[in-house]
Amino acid sequence: MTIDRDLEVEILRNLLRHTTRAYEEQVAALHAEKELAQVTLASIGDGVITTDRSATVTYLNRVAESLTGWGMARAAGRGLGDVLSLADTALGTRAELPIAQWLTGRADTTRLSGVTLIARHGSRCAVEGSVSPIRGPQGEVVGLVIILRDVSETRLLALQMAHQASHDQLTGLLNRPAFEGRLRMVLESPGLEERPACVCYMDLDQFKVVNDTCGHIAGDELLRRIAGLLLNQVRETDVVVRLGGDEFGILLDDCDVPSARVIAERVCETVCDYRFLWEDDVFSISASIGLVPLTPDLHSVMEVMSAGDHACYVAKEQGGGRVQVFERDDREVAHRMGEMSLVVRLQRSLEESRFELVAQPIMALEPDASRRWAFEVLLRMPMDGSGIAYPAEQFVRAAERYGLMPRLDRWVVGTVFRSLAAEPRALMETVHTCFVNLSGATLTDEHFADYVSDLVQETGLRPDVICFEITETAAVASMHKARRVIDALGELGCRFALDDFGQGMSSFGYLKSLPVSFLKIDGMFIHDIAADPLDRAMVESMQQIAKVYDLKTIAEAVSSQPIFDIVRAMGIDYAQGHFIGSPRPLATILEIAADPSGRHPRVQISAEVASGPEERPTSPAGVKSKG
């Protein structure tokens, strides 16, 4: 049955009305959505450009307008290539936009990076972003959307960070890693023989004087001035760096040895002629330069730097203010190379605990002392299989130069703690103090006190048995750090002795600031005390000052009965030297100290050494850093 036409028409009207209303609602919803999208696009911090399927610009948000310099009204209808002008940041050349490729839609998103946007009026801005196809319902590309982000600040920051990473903040010169990178490039470049190159390794000779006298601010200023001097004396193509501290480097590419020597000597002379004024003081300084020709037998950066260091050292040893060209057969340099092989042995000895500890007794001179015995622990480094030990000065110097002192010190301290803790308590009660030398490097090791604290916990040894010997040079080199370490060890209960007292004669001032319990009077004042009234007067004054500060004194190098008598008569508290006893294995010393026979220990010990020449405590072996 069909319905009549009027009814059909009315139903159609209903349908039309509802369809229209729905359509209007959809249009309103779409409009709202579009508004929201446009507000969103306008609000976001990135530039947005859209195009139609022919890459004709249809929309730019405000950020894109600002970045491109194109207003929406002007840009709309133009080709994307007109509005979006990009250049390759690295090359500086204009980049062709692969618009046809983008419009294929094969890639969902193409990243834009390393590009610079050239705005309508020519200004440039580093940008990053992306290009993505806009797809229709069937997946076909109906346009493009380009996102642009201003990364000029980020890129600038990255450049600044890269600059900071490769430059020395104090002088503005390249730093050591950057220098090594450049040097590596030169070493790895082909044709080094046809295109010679050299490296200068420069060390200032009197920098420490300025630093110590006027403080580090003056030292820093001096380094800045020296950097300026260097830059003025080298060629434009040369690379000048601060290697660290008061060490500088110069990479002289495309420069043979004679030319390099001319430049290096000019630098030396310039530094020599320079006068550094600080407040009312005028300082003369000089520079020692090791010049290393980059020959094929120097394979690595490390070898070059080591050769430069050695040559520089030789220059300094020969009085400073000169240039030393590195040569393989140079005796001095060969000596340094020998030192390097010693370093290898040192490292192996450390890894395999091949060191030996000996101890030299120290006797209390006051007759009623209940515990009369003390000793100084010294380190021996036996040569492989020979039973002979390396000269202490030799391996200590090598260890200092190659940064091994902290490890050596820890080995000694650890071994001492464990050895003493293993002894019977009764024996330990006869020992007054065990003196252990600490190097300057350890005094700046902020973790050393923790290490000692752990040893105290581990061994149960009374910390006050241990007295660390420090030299004024070591303590003064980095006073703030040294004070922190000394204070931390002091809190644990350890004590301190100022070693080689009197050597520098600036020592008295430091007595106020260093919390020491003992002064060890340098052997140079004791050797001739029986014959030299000046030495005698010096020792007397040291003794008086020590009493003022309530410090105990120890006379080093007591090698005879007359000397022994003199220092005892002066009121010196302790004596150390071959007359008292020569260094013996630690265990032997402990046994003698604990001898219940009551015989005078001096006789027991000194009888062993009556015929030998005076041997400084550090001579047989000792981790003793003589400043």
Partner: protein
């Protein structure tokens, strides 16, 4: 293949029927496809056909209005086929519903095997008492339809509610209620076209509650209220389901297998808030009301048939289209017959059509016309 369509004469024309059978001279037809009115004379007509052509494969179904070439018929139409090649043939199987309205799995398996060997399949289904949509789902699940053209229609009757024996199918001399006659054609190519002609007439909505053929809610609103919105005229609701025949539901997805299906309203039950259709609806179906008229339906049919070549055509057109076409019901058949260059054409107005959908075969339609174009293939 040769074919011809013979209108069945009315009860007041007994002599004419004999004359028409006698006019078919020479070799008896290989296949006689009959569409007969459910007026109680079907049995007698089947006997007469059996007597005339005992060896001919005879099958068909009852319907209210039949097609005989360019004309509508009410007393039945008979489509006779002669194959050129002796091996080409038609085999007919019958599957009956179980007493509770379901299907036997064994029979479905047998039917599946039968269909798999055929070149084309025509289904004639009891339009009232057979679970046609379940059969299609089972066949789809068994994958039988892949590559085989399958089309058909649901037999119709004048007053569905009266249940005067139903819209039955028949094979040989036997009439079957609650059954489906499955004719498998061998050596025959069948092209199936879905004739639509309806345009979207409302915004899109989503079915939110439905069970089988019964729709309860659209976008959370009772389906009856939803219909009221469109069909209330002058403060009163238009007669339903009649008024809805001109505004079928168009299914638009989102399931592509259901895209392009139509649903005709069968019953509008306002107290229950339920609207029953001749085909199923599923929750999630996106629907619109469609609209059309005689012109759009006829033109669509004409466009689809134009230029197509066939040796015979069978048309299953929905009774809903007949209602919309009204006085122009014959015009659709005429137009198709004309467009096909007067190829012998039979068929009937159905209670539902079967044909392929956009995503595959065996979809159940309302309000469409399924046109099957048959040609014998070379041996």
């Amino acid at each position: 293949m040769k074919s011809m369509v013979v209108p069945v004469p009315g009860p007041d024309e007994p002599g004419i029927w004999q004359d028409r059978l006698a006019a078919v001279t020479g070799r008896p037809p290989d296949v006689a496809l009959a569409f007969l009115p459910g007026n109680g004379r079907s049995q007698r007509t089947l006997r007469e056909l059996a007597t005339a052509w005992p060896e001919t494969v005879r099958f068909g179904c009852e319907s209210v209005t039949q097609f005989a070439d360019a004309a509508l018929a009410s007393q039945g139409s008979l489509h006779l086929f002669w194959f050129d090649h002796p091996g080409h043939r038609v085999e007919v199987d019958v599957i009956e519903a179980t007493p509770d309205g379901g299907l036997h799995a064994d029979e479905l398996d047998r039917l599946t095997d039968t269909i798999r060997g055929a070149d084309a399949v025509l289904l004639l289904v009891d339009g009232l008492h057979f679970p046609a949509q379940q059969l299609l789902a089972e066949l789809r699940a068994r994958g039988v339809a892949a590559g085989i053209p399958i089309a058909g229609g649901l037999a119709s009757m004048a007053s569905p509610g009266a249940d005067a024996g139903g819209a039955r199918v028949f094979v040989d001399r036997q009439l079957y209620g609650a059954a489906c006659a499955v004719s498998c054609w061998y050596g025959v190519r069948a092209d199936v076209e879905i004739v639509r002609g309806w345009s979207p007439a409302s915004p899109s909505y989503t079915v939110t509650r439905a069970e089988g053929n019964v729709l309860y809610e659209i976008d959370g609103e009772p389906a009856t209220e939803w219909y009221r919105r469109f069909f209330t005229v002058g403060g009163a609701i238009a007669p339903l389901p009649e008024a809805a025949h001109q505004f079928p539901l168009i299914l638009e997805g989102p399931d592509l297998g259901r895209q392009g299906l139509y649903r005709s309203m069968r019953q509008f039950d306002e107290p229950a808030g339920a609207v029953t259709f001749w085909g199923d609806l599923e929750v999630g179906d996106e629907i619109r009301l469609g609209m059309g008229n005689g012109t759009s339906l006829v033109e669509t049919a004409c466009d689809l048939a134009a230029g197509r070549h066939a040796e015979a055509a069978v048309l299953y057109s929905c009774v809903g289209r007949e209602i919309v076409l009204g006085q122009r019901a014959e015009a659709e058949v005429e137009a198709i017959h004309e467009a096909l260059e007067k190829v012998p054409l039979s068929g009937f107005f159905t209670f539902g059509e079967i044909g392929p959908s956009a995503r595959g075969p065996l979809a159940f339609y309302n309000h469409t016309a399924v046109l099957v174009l048959l040609s014998e293939v070379e041996a």
